[in-house]
Protein backbone atom coordinates (compact mmCIF):
# COMPACT_ATOMS: atom_id res chain seq x y z
CA UNK A 1 0.00 0.00 0.00
CA UNK A 2 1.31 3.43 -0.93
CA UNK A 3 1.00 6.05 1.78
CA UNK A 4 1.16 9.68 1.04
CA UNK A 5 3.00 12.90 1.60
CA UNK A 6 1.35 16.25 2.12
CA UNK A 7 3.56 19.05 0.88
CA UNK A 8 4.85 21.45 3.52
CA UNK A 9 4.79 25.19 3.19
CA UNK A 10 8.14 27.04 3.19
CA UNK A 11 9.69 27.90 6.55
CA UNK A 12 11.04 25.89 9.43
CA UNK A 13 9.09 22.94 10.76
CA UNK A 14 9.31 20.30 13.42
CA UNK A 15 8.88 16.76 12.12
CA UNK A 16 8.12 14.01 14.61
CA UNK A 17 7.05 10.40 14.56
CA UNK A 18 3.90 9.05 16.07
CA UNK A 19 2.92 5.48 15.39
CA UNK A 20 1.92 5.17 11.76
CA UNK A 21 2.67 8.73 10.78
CA UNK A 22 5.11 11.58 10.66
CA UNK A 23 3.51 14.78 11.87
CA UNK A 24 4.69 18.30 11.48
CA UNK A 25 4.30 21.56 13.35
CA UNK A 26 5.38 24.76 11.60
CA UNK A 27 7.52 27.16 13.60
CA UNK A 28 6.83 30.89 13.61
CA UNK A 29 10.06 32.21 15.03
CA UNK A 30 10.51 29.76 17.88
CA UNK A 31 6.80 29.31 18.51
CA UNK A 32 4.99 26.17 17.53
CA UNK A 33 2.08 27.05 15.26
CA UNK A 34 -0.04 24.34 16.78
CA UNK A 35 -3.17 25.13 14.82
CA UNK A 36 -1.32 24.41 11.61
CA UNK A 37 0.00 21.05 12.76
CA UNK A 38 -0.92 18.10 10.58
CA UNK A 39 0.36 14.71 9.50
CA UNK A 40 2.85 15.05 6.66
CA UNK A 41 3.15 11.37 5.96
CA UNK A 42 0.78 8.47 6.62
CA UNK A 43 2.52 5.15 7.12
CA UNK A 44 -0.28 3.30 8.88
CA UNK A 45 1.36 -0.11 9.05
CA UNK A 46 4.69 1.13 10.40
CA UNK A 47 6.29 1.91 13.73
CA UNK A 48 8.60 4.84 13.03
CA UNK A 49 11.35 5.48 15.55
CA UNK A 50 14.01 7.88 14.30
CA UNK A 51 13.52 10.95 12.10
CA UNK A 52 16.18 13.08 10.39
CA UNK A 53 16.03 15.83 7.83
CA UNK A 54 18.21 16.55 4.82
CA UNK A 55 18.05 20.30 4.28
CA UNK A 56 19.64 20.08 0.80
CA UNK A 57 17.02 17.93 -0.87
CA UNK A 58 14.27 18.82 1.63
CA UNK A 59 13.83 15.18 2.41
CA UNK A 60 12.81 13.43 5.60
CA UNK A 61 14.50 10.13 6.49
CA UNK A 62 13.15 7.71 9.05
CA UNK A 63 13.87 4.37 10.67
CA UNK A 64 11.12 1.83 11.06
CA UNK A 65 11.05 -1.38 13.12
CA UNK A 66 8.04 -3.30 11.78
CA UNK A 67 9.91 -4.47 8.70
CA UNK A 68 13.22 -2.99 9.82
CA UNK A 69 14.17 -0.39 7.24
CA UNK A 70 15.25 3.16 6.50
CA UNK A 71 13.13 5.20 4.10
CA UNK A 72 12.85 8.74 2.83
CA UNK A 73 10.34 11.12 1.28
CA UNK A 74 10.62 14.63 -0.07
CA UNK A 75 8.56 16.89 2.18
CA UNK A 76 7.39 18.97 -0.75
CA UNK A 77 5.32 16.03 -1.83
CA UNK A 78 7.44 13.06 -2.82
CA UNK A 79 6.69 9.40 -2.51
CA UNK A 80 8.15 7.39 0.35
CA UNK A 81 11.10 5.38 -0.95
CA UNK A 82 12.92 2.61 0.83
CA UNK A 83 16.64 3.29 1.13
CA UNK A 84 17.87 0.36 3.21
CA UNK A 85 15.81 -2.72 3.95
CA UNK A 86 18.26 -5.50 4.70
CA UNK A 87 20.70 -6.19 7.49
CA UNK A 88 18.69 -4.18 10.00
CA UNK A 89 17.08 -5.47 13.17
CA UNK A 90 16.09 -2.53 15.34
CA UNK A 91 17.20 0.69 13.65
CA UNK A 92 16.54 3.64 15.96
CA UNK A 93 18.39 6.92 15.77
CA UNK A 94 19.30 8.43 12.40
CA UNK A 95 21.46 11.45 11.54
CA UNK A 96 22.21 13.17 8.25
CA UNK A 97 25.47 14.74 7.15
CA UNK A 98 24.01 17.15 4.60
CA UNK A 99 27.50 18.21 3.49
CA UNK A 100 29.00 14.76 2.95
CA UNK A 101 25.65 13.37 1.72
CA UNK A 102 25.72 10.47 4.13
CA UNK A 103 23.51 9.12 6.88
CA UNK A 104 24.38 7.44 10.17
CA UNK A 105 22.16 5.20 12.22
CA UNK A 106 22.12 3.09 15.36
CA UNK A 107 20.76 -0.45 15.58
CA UNK A 108 19.90 -1.43 19.14
CA UNK A 109 19.62 -5.14 18.35
CA UNK A 110 22.71 -5.49 16.21
CA UNK A 111 24.46 -3.13 18.63
CA UNK A 112 26.22 -1.12 16.01
CA UNK A 113 26.45 2.20 14.24
CA UNK A 114 26.48 2.22 10.46
CA UNK A 115 26.98 4.79 7.73
CA UNK A 116 25.86 4.88 4.10
CA UNK A 117 25.38 7.38 1.32
CA UNK A 118 21.92 8.91 1.28
CA UNK A 119 20.85 6.53 -1.49
CA UNK A 120 21.86 3.54 0.63
CA UNK A 121 25.05 2.72 -1.26
CA UNK A 122 28.56 2.67 0.23
CA UNK A 123 27.22 1.17 3.43
CA UNK A 124 29.63 0.16 6.16
CA UNK A 125 29.78 -0.54 9.89
CA UNK A 126 31.39 2.31 11.80
CA UNK A 127 31.23 1.09 15.41
CA UNK A 128 30.41 -2.42 16.61
CA UNK A 129 32.06 -2.71 20.01
CA UNK A 130 30.95 -1.62 23.48
CA UNK A 131 27.39 -0.79 22.43
CA UNK A 132 24.42 -2.18 24.37
CA UNK A 133 21.42 0.06 23.71
CA UNK A 134 22.54 2.70 21.24
CA UNK A 135 19.67 5.05 20.35
CA UNK A 136 20.15 8.74 19.62
CA UNK A 137 22.80 9.75 17.10
CA UNK A 138 23.77 13.23 15.93
CA UNK A 139 26.16 14.47 13.27
CA UNK A 140 28.01 17.78 13.40
CA UNK A 141 29.25 17.86 9.81
CA UNK A 142 30.97 21.26 10.04
CA UNK A 143 33.37 19.93 12.65
CA UNK A 144 33.32 16.34 11.42
CA UNK A 145 32.02 14.91 14.69
CA UNK A 146 29.53 12.21 15.51
CA UNK A 147 27.75 11.91 18.87
CA UNK A 148 25.61 9.10 20.17
CA UNK A 149 23.99 7.93 23.41
CA UNK A 150 23.73 4.39 24.75
CA UNK A 151 21.11 3.86 27.47
CA UNK A 152 22.67 0.62 28.67
CA UNK A 153 21.16 0.23 32.18
CA UNK A 154 24.44 -0.92 33.64
CA UNK A 155 26.62 1.79 32.12
CA UNK A 156 24.81 4.53 30.20
CA UNK A 157 27.12 6.83 28.26
CA UNK A 158 27.36 9.54 25.64
CA UNK A 159 30.17 9.07 23.16
CA UNK A 160 31.76 10.86 20.26
CA UNK A 161 34.02 10.03 17.34
CA UNK A 162 35.05 11.56 14.07
CA UNK A 163 32.62 10.86 11.26
CA UNK A 164 34.78 7.99 10.02
CA UNK A 165 34.48 6.26 13.41
CA UNK A 166 38.01 7.08 14.50
CA UNK A 167 39.03 8.91 17.66
CA UNK A 168 36.17 7.39 19.68
CA UNK A 169 35.86 8.76 23.23
CA UNK A 170 33.33 8.68 26.07
CA UNK A 171 32.10 12.22 26.75
CA UNK A 172 29.72 11.57 29.65
CA UNK A 173 29.34 8.55 31.90
CA UNK A 174 28.54 9.98 35.33
CA UNK A 175 25.02 10.70 36.56
CA UNK A 176 23.23 9.34 33.53
CA UNK A 177 20.12 7.16 33.57
CA UNK A 178 18.36 6.62 30.27
CA UNK A 179 19.77 9.22 27.89
CA UNK A 180 17.18 8.80 25.12
CA UNK A 181 17.46 12.13 23.33
CA UNK A 182 20.48 13.96 21.99
CA UNK A 183 20.92 17.13 19.96
CA UNK A 184 23.76 19.46 18.99
CA UNK A 185 23.51 23.18 18.41
CA UNK A 186 26.44 24.30 16.23
CA UNK A 187 25.99 28.01 17.03
CA UNK A 188 26.51 27.62 20.75
CA UNK A 189 28.60 24.41 20.44
CA UNK A 190 26.29 22.76 22.93
CA UNK A 191 25.55 19.06 22.97
CA UNK A 192 22.35 18.51 24.91
CA UNK A 193 20.64 15.37 26.09
CA UNK A 194 17.32 14.43 27.67
CA UNK A 195 17.37 11.62 30.21
CA UNK A 196 14.30 9.53 31.08
CA UNK A 197 16.17 8.04 34.04
CA UNK A 198 17.47 11.15 35.80
CA UNK A 199 14.54 13.19 34.39
CA UNK A 200 16.94 15.98 33.49
CA UNK A 201 17.86 17.88 30.38
CA UNK A 202 21.54 18.75 30.36
CA UNK A 203 24.04 20.34 27.98
CA UNK A 204 27.78 20.42 27.61
CA UNK A 205 30.40 21.87 25.34
CA UNK A 206 32.04 18.74 23.96
CA UNK A 207 35.29 20.61 23.38
CA UNK A 208 35.58 22.07 26.86
CA UNK A 209 33.63 19.55 28.86
CA UNK A 210 31.64 22.01 30.97
CA UNK A 211 28.27 20.51 31.84
CA UNK A 212 25.10 22.34 32.91
CA UNK A 213 21.52 21.42 33.73
CA UNK A 214 18.84 23.05 31.59
CA UNK A 215 15.77 21.56 33.20
CA UNK A 216 14.94 19.08 35.94
CA UNK A 217 11.89 16.93 36.69
CA UNK A 218 11.03 16.34 33.05
CA UNK A 219 8.88 13.24 32.61
CA UNK A 220 9.82 10.74 29.92
CA UNK A 221 11.84 12.27 27.09
CA UNK A 222 12.45 10.23 23.96
CA UNK A 223 13.60 12.37 21.00
CA UNK A 224 14.90 15.91 20.94
CA UNK A 225 16.02 18.60 18.52
CA UNK A 226 17.61 22.02 18.98
CA UNK A 227 16.59 25.11 17.05
CA UNK A 228 18.11 28.44 18.09
CA UNK A 229 17.37 29.18 21.70
CA UNK A 230 14.84 26.41 21.94
CA UNK A 231 14.96 22.67 22.38
CA UNK A 232 11.95 20.59 21.42
CA UNK A 233 11.51 17.11 22.81
CA UNK A 234 8.96 14.30 22.62
CA UNK A 235 7.69 12.75 25.84
CA UNK A 236 6.27 9.25 26.30
CA UNK A 237 4.26 10.16 29.36
CA UNK A 238 2.77 13.38 28.12
CA UNK A 239 2.34 12.16 24.51
CA UNK A 240 3.44 15.63 23.51
CA UNK A 241 6.12 17.77 21.94
CA UNK A 242 7.49 20.17 24.54
CA UNK A 243 9.35 23.39 23.78
CA UNK A 244 12.06 24.40 26.22
CA UNK A 245 13.82 27.76 26.28
CA UNK A 246 17.42 26.69 26.77
CA UNK A 247 18.64 29.98 28.18
CA UNK A 248 15.68 30.73 30.42
CA UNK A 249 15.69 27.09 31.62
CA UNK A 250 11.97 26.79 31.39
CA UNK A 251 9.31 25.01 29.43
CA UNK A 252 7.69 27.48 27.07
CA UNK A 253 5.02 25.48 25.26
CA UNK A 254 3.50 22.08 24.65
CA UNK A 255 1.85 20.50 21.63
CA UNK A 256 -0.27 17.45 22.19
CA UNK A 257 -1.59 15.81 19.00
CA UNK A 258 -5.24 14.82 19.04
CA UNK A 259 -4.33 11.16 18.96
CA UNK A 260 -2.92 10.13 22.34
CA UNK A 261 -0.11 7.72 21.72
CA UNK A 262 3.64 7.63 22.07
CA UNK A 263 5.78 10.08 20.13
CA UNK A 264 9.23 8.99 19.02
CA UNK A 265 11.94 10.81 17.07
CA UNK A 266 11.84 14.52 16.26
CA UNK A 267 13.84 16.64 13.83
CA UNK A 268 14.00 20.26 12.75
CA UNK A 269 13.29 20.79 9.06
CA UNK A 270 15.25 23.97 8.42
CA UNK A 271 14.07 26.44 5.83
CA UNK A 272 17.69 26.74 4.73
CA UNK A 273 20.73 24.64 5.37
CA UNK A 274 22.99 25.92 8.12
CA UNK A 275 26.16 27.42 6.63
CA UNK A 276 29.23 25.25 6.68
CA UNK A 277 31.41 22.86 4.76
CA UNK A 278 33.56 19.86 5.48
CA UNK A 279 36.27 17.81 3.88
CA UNK A 280 33.85 15.29 2.48
CA UNK A 281 31.52 17.79 0.84
CA UNK A 282 33.50 17.70 -2.39
CA UNK A 283 33.37 13.91 -2.68
Amino acid sequence: PRPDVDALTPGTHLLFAQSGRIEHVPLGGYDMKKNDAKPVLHLPEKVIIGVAYDCVEKTVYWTEITSPSISKANIEGGEPTSVISSGLESPEGIAIDHLGRTMFWTDSAKDRIEVASLDGSNRRVLINTDLVNPRAIIADPSNGNLYWADWNRKAPKIETSYMDGSNRRVLVRDNLGLPNGLTYDPHSSQLCWADAGTHKMECMDPGRGSRSTVLERIQYPFGMTAFGKNIYYTDWQRDAVIAVDRYASRESDEFQPQKRTRLYGIATAYAQCPAGQNYCSGN
Binding site: R2, W151, R260
Partner: protein, 182 residues
Protein backbone atom coordinates in the same frame (compact mmCIF):
# COMPACT_ATOMS: atom_id res chain seq x y z
CA UNK B 1 -15.02 13.08 -2.76
CA UNK B 2 -17.59 15.76 -2.22
CA UNK B 3 -16.68 17.65 -5.41
CA UNK B 4 -18.39 15.29 -7.84
CA UNK B 5 -21.87 16.35 -6.89
CA UNK B 6 -23.61 13.02 -6.72
CA UNK B 7 -25.36 11.45 -3.74
CA UNK B 8 -22.99 9.25 -1.79
CA UNK B 9 -19.94 11.38 -2.50
CA UNK B 10 -19.14 11.28 1.20
CA UNK B 11 -18.88 7.81 2.63
CA UNK B 12 -18.66 6.97 6.31
CA UNK B 13 -15.12 6.24 7.47
CA UNK B 14 -14.48 2.49 7.60
CA UNK B 15 -12.98 2.90 11.05
CA UNK B 16 -13.98 1.48 14.44
CA UNK B 17 -16.42 3.60 16.45
CA UNK B 18 -17.06 6.05 13.58
CA UNK B 19 -13.63 7.60 14.12
CA UNK B 20 -12.11 9.93 11.54
CA UNK B 21 -10.22 9.06 8.39
CA UNK B 22 -8.52 10.70 5.45
CA UNK B 23 -8.54 9.79 1.81
CA UNK B 24 -5.18 10.07 0.13
CA UNK B 25 -5.63 12.12 -3.03
CA UNK B 26 -3.35 10.26 -5.44
CA UNK B 27 -4.29 6.74 -4.49
CA UNK B 28 -7.81 7.05 -3.16
CA UNK B 29 -6.65 5.00 -0.21
CA UNK B 30 -8.51 5.59 3.04
CA UNK B 31 -6.53 5.74 6.27
CA UNK B 32 -8.09 5.87 9.71
CA UNK B 33 -6.56 8.74 11.67
CA UNK B 34 -8.00 8.37 15.13
CA UNK B 35 -7.94 4.72 16.06
CA UNK B 36 -9.04 3.60 19.52
CA UNK B 37 -6.32 3.53 22.18
CA UNK B 38 -3.64 0.94 21.51
CA UNK B 39 -4.73 0.45 17.89
CA UNK B 40 -3.18 1.68 14.67
CA UNK B 41 -2.97 0.76 10.99
CA UNK B 42 -4.94 1.61 7.88
CA UNK B 43 -8.18 0.31 9.46
CA UNK B 44 -7.04 0.30 13.08
CA UNK B 45 -6.44 -3.40 12.61
CA UNK B 46 -3.09 -3.63 14.31
CA UNK B 47 -1.74 -2.97 17.77
CA UNK B 48 0.65 -0.18 18.60
CA UNK B 49 4.24 -0.62 19.67
CA UNK B 50 4.32 -2.32 23.06
CA UNK B 51 0.93 -4.00 22.55
CA UNK B 52 -0.27 -7.15 20.81
CA UNK B 53 -3.53 -8.68 19.67
CA UNK B 54 -5.86 -8.82 16.69
CA UNK B 55 -8.48 -6.16 17.48
CA UNK B 56 -10.54 -6.72 14.34
CA UNK B 57 -10.17 -10.49 14.35
CA UNK B 58 -8.46 -10.66 10.97
CA UNK B 59 -6.88 -14.02 11.74
CA UNK B 60 -9.44 -15.71 13.97
CA UNK B 61 -11.31 -14.47 16.99
CA UNK B 62 -10.84 -10.79 17.78
CA UNK B 63 -8.28 -10.17 20.53
CA UNK B 64 -8.09 -6.69 21.99
CA UNK B 65 -4.67 -5.04 22.08
CA UNK B 66 -3.00 -5.77 25.39
CA UNK B 67 0.46 -4.93 26.68
CA UNK B 68 3.32 -7.21 25.73
CA UNK B 69 3.72 -9.89 28.42
CA UNK B 70 7.39 -10.68 28.81
CA UNK B 71 7.43 -11.58 32.50
CA UNK B 72 9.31 -8.43 33.41
CA UNK B 73 12.27 -9.57 31.33
CA UNK B 74 12.16 -6.69 28.86
CA UNK B 75 13.10 -3.09 29.37
CA UNK B 76 10.27 -0.54 29.22
CA UNK B 77 12.67 1.93 27.63
CA UNK B 78 13.14 -0.36 24.60
CA UNK B 79 11.07 -0.19 21.41
CA UNK B 80 9.60 -3.13 19.50
CA UNK B 81 9.57 -5.45 22.49
CA UNK B 82 6.98 -7.93 21.17
CA UNK B 83 5.34 -9.10 17.95
CA UNK B 84 2.22 -6.99 17.42
CA UNK B 85 0.03 -10.00 16.60
CA UNK B 86 1.36 -12.99 18.49
CA UNK B 87 2.87 -11.13 21.43
CA UNK B 88 6.09 -13.11 21.08
CA UNK B 89 8.73 -11.23 23.01
CA UNK B 90 11.60 -10.02 20.85
CA UNK B 91 13.97 -8.41 23.33
CA UNK B 92 14.30 -10.74 26.32
CA UNK B 93 16.87 -9.62 28.88
CA UNK B 94 19.06 -11.26 31.49
CA UNK B 95 19.68 -14.54 29.63
CA UNK B 96 15.99 -15.37 29.35
CA UNK B 97 14.24 -16.64 26.25
CA UNK B 98 10.89 -18.02 25.09
CA UNK B 99 7.77 -16.41 23.65
CA UNK B 100 7.28 -14.58 26.94
CA UNK B 101 10.88 -14.61 28.18
CA UNK B 102 9.70 -17.32 30.58
CA UNK B 103 12.73 -19.56 30.68
CA UNK B 104 16.49 -19.39 30.92
CA UNK B 105 18.66 -19.46 27.84
CA UNK B 106 20.69 -22.55 27.10
CA UNK B 107 23.68 -22.48 29.41
CA UNK B 108 21.86 -20.64 32.21
CA UNK B 109 19.67 -21.60 35.16
CA UNK B 110 17.47 -19.90 37.71
CA UNK B 111 13.90 -18.60 37.80
CA UNK B 112 13.13 -16.53 34.73
CA UNK B 113 9.93 -15.31 36.40
CA UNK B 114 11.73 -13.81 39.38
CA UNK B 115 14.06 -10.96 38.45
CA UNK B 116 15.47 -10.79 41.99
CA UNK B 117 17.08 -14.18 41.43
CA UNK B 118 18.31 -13.65 37.90
CA UNK B 119 19.94 -16.16 35.59
CA UNK B 120 23.23 -17.74 36.47
CA UNK B 121 25.61 -19.44 34.09
CA UNK B 122 25.72 -23.28 34.24
CA UNK B 123 29.53 -23.25 34.19
CA UNK B 124 29.77 -27.00 34.71
CA UNK B 125 33.17 -28.34 35.61
CA UNK B 126 34.78 -29.47 32.41
CA UNK B 127 36.46 -32.32 34.31
CA UNK B 128 33.43 -33.60 36.19
CA UNK B 129 30.57 -33.29 33.71
CA UNK B 130 29.49 -36.03 31.36
CA UNK B 131 27.74 -33.48 29.21
CA UNK B 132 28.65 -30.02 27.95
CA UNK B 133 29.82 -27.28 30.32
CA UNK B 134 26.78 -25.27 29.23
CA UNK B 135 24.22 -28.01 29.96
CA UNK B 136 22.45 -27.93 33.30
CA UNK B 137 18.98 -28.23 34.79
CA UNK B 138 17.16 -25.00 33.91
CA UNK B 139 15.88 -24.51 37.48
CA UNK B 140 18.37 -26.15 39.83
CA UNK B 141 21.47 -25.64 37.69
CA UNK B 142 22.59 -29.22 38.33
CA UNK B 143 25.07 -30.42 35.73
CA UNK B 144 25.29 -34.00 34.46
CA UNK B 145 28.04 -35.54 36.59
CA UNK B 146 30.37 -38.41 35.80
CA UNK B 147 30.19 -41.38 38.12
CA UNK B 148 30.82 -40.58 41.78
CA UNK B 149 31.24 -36.89 41.00
CA UNK B 150 29.04 -34.43 42.85
CA UNK B 151 28.35 -30.76 43.44
CA UNK B 152 26.00 -28.59 41.39
CA UNK B 153 28.72 -28.03 38.85
CA UNK B 154 30.23 -31.55 39.20
CA UNK B 155 33.47 -30.16 40.54
CA UNK B 156 34.33 -32.66 43.29
CA UNK B 157 34.18 -36.33 44.27
CA UNK B 158 31.54 -37.95 46.46
CA UNK B 159 32.60 -38.92 49.99
CA UNK B 160 34.63 -42.09 49.75
CA UNK B 161 35.92 -41.26 46.27
CA UNK B 162 38.94 -39.38 44.97
CA UNK B 163 41.01 -38.50 41.92
CA UNK B 164 38.54 -36.78 39.60
CA UNK B 165 39.65 -37.46 36.03
CA UNK B 166 38.05 -35.93 32.93
CA UNK B 167 35.84 -38.40 31.09
CA UNK B 168 36.18 -41.01 33.82
CA UNK B 169 35.02 -39.65 37.17
CA UNK B 170 36.25 -40.46 40.66
CA UNK B 171 37.85 -43.61 42.03
CA UNK B 172 36.82 -45.31 45.22
CA UNK B 173 39.10 -44.77 48.19
CA UNK B 174 40.76 -48.04 49.09
CA UNK B 175 41.53 -47.21 52.64
CA UNK B 176 42.15 -49.99 55.11
CA UNK B 177 39.28 -49.83 57.62
CA UNK B 178 41.62 -50.62 60.46
CA UNK B 179 44.04 -47.76 59.88
CA UNK B 180 41.55 -45.06 58.77
CA UNK B 181 40.06 -42.41 61.05
CA UNK B 182 36.97 -42.03 58.84
Amino acid sequence: NSLIGTPGDCQPCPCPGQTSCVQIAETGQVVCTNCPAGQTGMRCQRCEDGYYGDPLGLSGAAQPCVRCNCNGNVDFNAVGICDHVTGRCLKCLGHTEGDHCERCQQGFYGNALDQTVGQKSCSCSSAGTSGHVNECHPQTGNCHCLSHVTGRDCSYCEVGFFNLQPGIGCEICKCNPIGSSS
